[in-house]
Structures are given as C-alpha cells and as structure tokens.
Chain length 317, copies 4
C-alpha cells in the first residue's frame, strides 16, 4: 500500500538528527473526544519553543486509550497542520503484529514522517518473535524502536537491536534502560534518544545520545531545548530535577495531565484509568512553577490549584 506522492517525506537521516522530540499530550473535551483546539495550541507552543519532533499517541499522548481510527486521524491532523515545521512521529506500534502492520501502513499513507514501534507488551514473545514483529513493519518507512521494560514487562536486548539495525529504515532507539546501555549502542553507531527525562542530560552530554523523547518538554519546551542543544549545563539540569521528579511520582501521564490543567492550557478532563494527582501534589506543582519561573512554562494564565470537583473523569470514551 506504498505511495510515492506523500508530501514532506523525511529521510532516515533527518529523523536521526532530531534532538528534542516531545511526546505530546492529547487533550480532551468534557465528553472524552479530542479537544483539537487545545491540541493545536499545545503543538504551536512546541514549535515556537524549538521542539523538532513530536510523538503522536505515545503512552504520554494516551494512544493506549484511543481507537485506531482516532489515532490515525490525530496523526493525519498533526501532519496536515504542522508537518512542514516539525517532524511527526506516529506511535503506530502495538502488541498485536496485525494491528501494528495496519496502523503503520495507514500512518505512512497519511504522511507521518516516522513510526515509533514498541515490542509486544503484555503478550510478550521470544527473541525470534521480536525480530519477526519489527521486520513486519520496518519496510514501511523510518522507524524508532522504543524500549521501556518497566511498561512492557520485557527488555529488548542489544542482540535484537543489532539484528534489526541492518534495516536501512531503522533510525534509532528510544532507550529507557540507562546510560550504560546507551553508551554501548552509541559506541556501535546506533542513534539513541533517552526515554528518561531525569537522565537525558547525562545521556546526551556524557554518553553520546542524540537527544531525548521527552514528557517534561510538554511543560517547559524552551528549557528542554536548551538542555539538549546548548552543551552540558549541570545547573539547568539540577534546576529541572524537582519538576521531573514531580512529574513521575505516579505513572506518566498522570502528573503531566494534572500540570497542564493547572497551567490552564487544557481542560481538566481525564480519560480513565488516569486520575489527577492529589491536592498535596497539586499544591506542590504551584511551588515548582514559581521556583522555575512561570514564564518558562507553556501558556500565559496564572498557575492555579484545582479542586477535586474541577476535574471530569470519563469512563466511556
């Protein structure tokens, strides 16, 4: 189902050069549908502050809570509106090879620049199964492989990465297994993005990572860009650490969703199973914003403390 007409096709090398990629949040209307106006606004803030790519429908963007038609629509929408100014990487991975194949074909057909592929979480498989899974989709276009054993229950070991690296579409790895692992890949010439915000400064400047696929940059894109492109900066990294620690108190994107709502840039609507951080954490966020400077955060409203009643939790979506 290949097309040679798709506009703004990106080479694998273009993808390999991205340093700040934001795993963009998907905001919702009170009935649980996407809030595209808020989404567009979040995207504009990313572009304005220097993000070079976005992951659409990643775990941060709650792809796991989308139907595939919503998911592909959001990829196509992002390409249409912003595809000439930022690289659009669709998370078309799945623990079902059948779904991954179908979604990746569709994502490239609507113009995404690259695919993000996860190993089959929850269902898991053998090493040979992992290779077969990735080979089913690698022919379709530039691909980033995502390794996050704390979510998937299974590490993608270097041996698998080395096998699939032979494929010319393999752009690199979003790696969450720490800087030792990252260094090993970099030494072999494999492009790496850190998948852990709190490690990304060292991954980049000490261990050779190319950049980060970041959650924190949803909130402070300018500071994260600075952290990734302007050289080692231990002081900035330290200043960001409290925010990063706060964001991951509970499984992502719980902290992020809470923070964006308090910054007034999204409606305070959660799709279950996500629920807001408790009041104490919401108060703490206000202090973190004040410490880092409101001007470094997205949006221009005063940061506010939301009450429990301000939030809408949607179960049927």
């Amino acid at each position: 189902m290949r097309s040679l007409e798709v506009k703004n096709r990106t080479s694998v090398d273009d993808i390999r050069s991205l340093r700040l990629i934001t795993a963009i949040k998907t905001p919702y209307l009170p009935d649980g549908r996407f809030d595209l106006e808020a989404y567009d606004s979040l995207m504009r803030m990313q572009i304005f502050n220097g993000a070079e790519g976005v992951i659409v429908g990643g775990t941060t963007g709650e792809g796991q809570l989308m139907s595939w038609d919503e998911h592909i629509m959001l990829i196509a929408h992002t390409v249409n509106c912003f595809g000439t100014t930022i690289k659009v990487i669709g998370n078309t991975g799945s623990n079902s090879t059948g779904e991954a194949i179908h979604a990746t074909e569709q994502g490239f057909a609507v113009g995404m620049h690259a695919a993000l592929h996860i190993n089959p979480y929850y269902g898991k498989t053998s090493m040979q199964g992992l290779v077969s899974h990735f080979e089913s989709v690698l022919s379709m276009g530039p691909t980033i492989i995502y390794n996050v054993p704390s979510r998937t229950g299974q590490d993608i070991p270097p041996s698998v990465i080395q096998t699939i690296t032979q494929n010319p579409n393999m752009a690199g790895v979003k790696e969450c297994m720490g800087n030792e692992r990252i260094k090993g890949y970099v030494d072999q010439g494999i492009v790496i993005w850190s998948g852990n915000d709190d490690e990304c400064h060292d991954s980049r400047w000490t261990f050779g990572a190319t950049g980060v696929i970041s959650v924190t940059s949803n909130l402070v894109p300018g500071l994260m860009k600075e952290l990734m492109v302007q050289g080692q900066n231990l002081s900035l990294n330290s200043k960001l650490m409290p925010l990063m620690k706060w964001l991951f108190k509970e499984p992502n994107p719980i902290g992020l969703n809470t923070a964006l709502a308090q910054l007034g840039v999204i409606r305070p609507v959660f799709r279950l199973p996500y629920v807001p951080l408790p009041l104490a954490s919401r108060l703490e966020f206000v202090r973190i914003v004040e410490a880092l400077g409101r001007e470094n955060f997205v949006g221009d409203k005063d940061v506010q403390v939301l009450d429990d009643d301000d939030f809408t939790l949607v179960g049927r979506y």
Copy 2:
C-alpha cells in the same frame, strides 16, 4: 472537535465555483487493500487534465465497501498528496447519523475541503428526520448534498433543500433528478452539480448548473473539462454519449472498473459485489476507445480486451 489550524481551508464559495469534480475510482491490490500507487497516478491524471475537485470514497470510489478507518485514511492521504492543487471532497455521509457525524468530524480534522452528504439510504426517514440528519453535520464545514433516489429509495424534495440552504455551510446539491428539478433550484440561487453524465451538458448550458460530479471524467478528464468550461458543444456531447451509455449499462462503478482495467491504469481487481462487465461489453469498450481516440483517455498503454481469468474478485476485504 473543531480545529482552526487545518491547512488550505476552503470557503464555501470556492466549493461553489467548481465545475468539474471527479468521483474518483479506488483501485485495489490483489488482496483487496488499496493500491495507493495506482490511486496517486489516477489523481495526477485528473489534475493534469483539469479536474477541479474529487469526491473521495463516493459510490464510484466504493466508499460503501470501505471500513471507516480506510475511508478517512484515503481522504487524509488525498489531502496530503494533492490538497494544494485540487479540492478534496470526502464522502462522509452515511445512513447512520452517528456514523456521519463521526466521519465528518474526522474528515474535516484531516483537512478535507468539503463533505458530501447523502440522505439516509435504505433505512430512510421522515422529512423532519432528513432535516435533523443534515443539520447534525452541516455545522462542521462546507457541504454538498447528494440526491440520488434510484440508489437511496427516497427523494430529497426541494422543501428539505430549501430548509437546509439557510445554513451558510451549504454549498449546493449534486442532483440526479433531472433538469427540471435543477432549473428550479438554479432559479432560487442554489448551486447545482449534475449527477448524471449524460445530462450534464444540458444541465450546465441550458439549465444553469454549475458543473458536474462525474464518473466519465475518470476516463476522459480532458474532454469532460472541455464540456463543462468551453461553452455549449453539442458535437462533443454527442461524441461522448456512447461512452456514457456504455458506462452505465450496469450499476456504476462496474463499467468504470472494467474500463480502467482495460486501459491498463489499474489492476483488474474487484471487491465484491462488483464483477466485471461480460466479454461482449469489454470488446465494445475497445471500439468506443478507438472511436473517441485513445489519446483522450487516461493512461498510455494500448487498450486491451481482458479475459475472465485476468480478473481477481475479492470477497474478504
């Protein structure tokens, strides 16, 4: 789920000015998936020969045989590849109001310029139900209403059109009920496209229609453009009549699918319930091509007579 960022938004007046809109064919691979390379090629031929708009996934494009995710993907793909040079009108209509709402929201989110909406075929409804159905989707963007009682089993009467014409997004009507009806609308200032190729010349030049939404233009886009823009031309109209009659011997797109396969511009693959025209008709098509001139048809291979065995019929798609 509105977005103000979508690129190349088109005003209702832009839609109203289109004269040749092609109800574009969807070609298939042997396993029944879309053949996007062939599709792109058909689209380029349309643009090169002057079509100003396309209907994606109309009855001609076999939208009725698509899953909605395929359908929206094809709209998004068309917008991405060709949306700056031709108007992309997505057939996001359905006999289910719920599906029409969802598909139309998605179609506009991925950048389609206008929606084509049919009345609820097969299920049918009352006049008040018709109005409610159309009002559910008209707020979303420029809209063409499609009236084809021979398919839907129910006429959209002028009274319903007059009611919904109040909506500023209402661009006009694709009308198959003949030139009397068309004249009535034109007299009231309602923009009309003929839905019958064999009547469109007269609709345009005698009864005030703006143009045609055409099946025949898949084959001879240049001649259909001439017919619609260069003034009354009874001779050209007569010359085209045998082709038009041939195309509609069986319910569209049976003739069109057969013709495009014989012209070598698509693979000879049909999704059931469509089957090729019989051999006698296939032979007749070759004579029609010779009479009109091969150079007026799309593609550059010799027109050929296909055997029954050359066709692949796909039931599970």
Copy 3:
C-alpha cells in the same frame, strides 16, 4: 470458521415452516446504548403471544444504526436468552460483501438459526454480482433473502432467486413486490414471507405465502398470529388496516418507535435520523388503540400521548 457444536441448530425446513416472524424493535437507553431489559421484555411478549421467529437488527430493529459488534452481540444475546423457544434470524446482510461474509460467519458462530440477506442497497450491482454476493454467504447456514426495492433501489428479479434457490440453505424470500410476484414464486415451490403487513393476509390465504415478517406484530402479536394461522379472516384484516396504515405513514420504524413509547413498553429514545411522529399522529394512535382494544397491544400501562419534550433524540451513538 464452521462449528458443529452450536446448540439448537435449525434445519432449513424448520425455518421454512415459520408463519409469524417479528422484525423486532431495538429499544435504547437515554445515552443511545441498547436497553436490554426493555428488549427482553419485548421478546417475552412476542413469545407469549405466539411469534415463531424474530429478525434481529433488521431495518425495523435499526441494524443500519448499529456497529457490527453491537449487532452481533444483540444476536448472541437473543440466542442466549430466547433461542430455545423462538427462532432467531440475524440480519447479517450488508451492501458490502466483505461485511456480509464476516457478520454472517459471526452470527452463525454465536448460534443464530438463520440469516436474513439483502441485496447490495445503495451501491447496487449487476445480476451476476447479485448472485456472487448471495453465494458468498449461502454456504454458511439457512438463509432468507429479502427483496425491498423501495429501500434498496434495485429489484431482485425472479431469475436471480431461481439461480440461488438451487442452494440447499436457501429457505425462502421475504418479498415486498406484491402478490403477483409472490404467486409466481409459490407456484415454483419457493417459500415466501410477505414483507408488507397490509398485504400479508391476502398473500397468505390467497397467494400461497407461508407467512409474514411483520412490523405490526411488535404491537399486536396475538392478532397477527391469528391472522397468519387461523385461516382467512377478512374482518380481522380490515380491523387491523388502520393500524397498519398509521404505522407506515412515515418510513418504518418511525411509527413503530412512536407507538411503543406511547404504550409505555420502551423509553421514548430515538437514534437519529429517526424522529417521532408529530403530535397529531400521536393523538391518532391513541384512538387506534382504543378502537382495536388496549388488551390486544403489548404492555399493560395506559396508552399515553407524549409531548415533544418527552422524547430524547440521540445523534452520537
């Protein structure tokens, strides 16, 4: 995907012997989901009053407004709850051959006794295409073919019926083309159900039809049973005529939905594009009930006149 284990399998002859089959209404909750408790109650009334079969998700049951997973679920639910006391005929037809194949496989896998198949409405096809469409599904189990050109835009002619009648799974035809057509089939030994309530008495007693697939029997199942099994009864037929005429003032199931709500056996919830009959017709219904006798109608609450505000119309379902 065949199974030989499915319980209560029914022979084609069993299906052929059914005289009163009700095209059962699907009632809704205020959010547009199915109201299974009301549905179960409607089913019990049918069984109690002698209906021998039901069509699940027909046009009366608004199958055209269901997702396929809802549709198959409702078939499975009906089989589970009532499959030992009434024949469950799933409307697994579609104008997409692919969808018809998939749905029919699923319907038989969950235990439906027979399938109802429509010709491809709206999209239409050639006679050879019709035969290919029906042959794609006939191997799966007992099948009733449904001919209703006023909805589909295309007549299934006797030649097509004669071809597919060769298939041993072909149980018969639900025919809406009148008694002449019916007589022709009966003379050839083809089993026929009338698809028009107002003609069914004569179809049965004068022209040889086996029975009726009825809308009216949703309201007065006992009287319709009497009409179909106790011999010619011109007086009863005349008495029922005003109700039948009233029911079809607007496209079915608009009248039926309105009537059941006024009888208090379903919530007054409509999925668009259906809207209630206007107040004048709602008043008329009360008089019809009084004339025929409340005790002949389903439910035991007083028939009431509902206000416009009593109805909920659901667009997103």
Copy 4:
C-alpha cells in the same frame, strides 16, 4: 445495559468454587481466522477431563491479538456450545477503561459467567486509578482480578485488592506473585487461583489457594485436575514439572502453541508475534510426552516433530 434474562447466570460463589480453570488456546485457520472446529474439540477435551472453567481470550488464548468483535464472538460461541457444562470466564479486561467497560457489558450480555480483569498494563496508572478502573466494571457481574506484574509492569498491591474486595461481585484473584502473597490473601478470606502452574500444587495444598488458572491443563487436563482435587501429591507434581518448565521456556503461549500443533490437535498456524519453539525444543517435547505417557495428553494422534516449514506464520489478521 443490564439483562436479567441471560441463561445459566452464575453466582459469585459458584465462581469461587472452581478449582481447575483452563486458559484455553485459540486455534487458527491458515488465513488467521479462528478454527472453530479445532476450538470446539479442545473445549470438549477440557470438559471430558474435568476442567470446571475456561478463560476465553486470555493471554494464553491470545486475546491481545483479537479484534473486540472476534473476542466477544468467541465468548458468545463458547457460552452457546458449552455454557451449561463449564463456566465461561471472558477476559474482557483492557488497559483502556473505555474498552474494558464496553467489552464487559457485551460479554455479560452474551452470557459469560464471569469476567477476568487485568490492571492497565503498559499504560499503568496510580493506585487510585486502579481502583477507579476496577470499579468501572465490577458492578456488571462476577469478576476475577488478574495480577501478573511480569506482563503488566505493575503490581496490584494487597491494599487495592482489599478495597475492591468490598464489592460483592469480586470473586477472587488470579495471583502470580507467589505463595507468600497468596497466603496473606487466604488468611483474609480472599479466594485465590494460582497463575503459575509450577507453583500451583503448593499454592493449593500448603497456602490455601482454591485452584489454578492453568496453561498446562490445555495439554494434560486430567493430570491437572488430579493435582487440584485429589489432595497433596508431590510425586505427580514432580512428574509434571519438566513439562511445566518446558512450556514456559519462552513467553506463553509459544510453548503451548508448539505443543498442541505437535500433538495434532490444532493446525500449526501462529499469529505473529508468536513463532514456534526451535527444533531442539520440539524434539524435547516428544521426549516429555513419552515420559509422561501419550495417553495423558489431549488428542489421539502420535506426537510428531514438526519441521520449520510445517508452520504458517500470519502477520495480517
């Protein structure tokens, strides 16, 4: 969407008394569709050998590779064919609360006796989110909670179990976190099934578990029944250990799929990302069968060693 008519409803206490529940394999046809005849045969063997319940579409049954309509269809099919002789527990869990709600409603509507619910794997959530997720579905019917952190990336801690145990529909926990954890629950009166075949003997006879939800019982249902109901039997447990170890050499159901194919009771068809165990392991399986006795395994063909070429791997399903 509640129904009180569903047949063979089961009380929570009935579910709590089950000792051998098999996580039943889903076999495939060469094109990737379900092989219902083979499935029915596997089900009959389970019933004949004393399994008291089955999990339909669990991780063993590859629910993660099914569309929801396939999944619900398989639950409905199992209820229809076998629901009077064995308890049918549908795995209607999901990491999307929206999908879990919809699937669980549908599963109970088609007659499943209980639901199996997993915590949101991969996406994960906070403890409060876990409780909200489970509470969204617990009202619908008898429920088993499944804890398998090695797949989900997140433990369901006792505090969450204690909270949701208040719900009268909570039947118990399928626990994979070991016998210490199990003992703690048993001491509080919470019903437990072991989720680890190699521990289940001790869980049952030393730590108070009620039974096992087993993979191994797909192969040797009679022996597993004996292990669960006839009292402590260290010798049988030791005899089974090599088979259990072999089965979990690679992520389940890779071993199981390979074994059933070699026993000749399913076609050697895998949906990716699963691939067969390598030849050395396939040879080893034959020796295990011989050691345990062919007569203890399902099927009656000779166990055979399959070649790589004997297997069909399906990516598009």
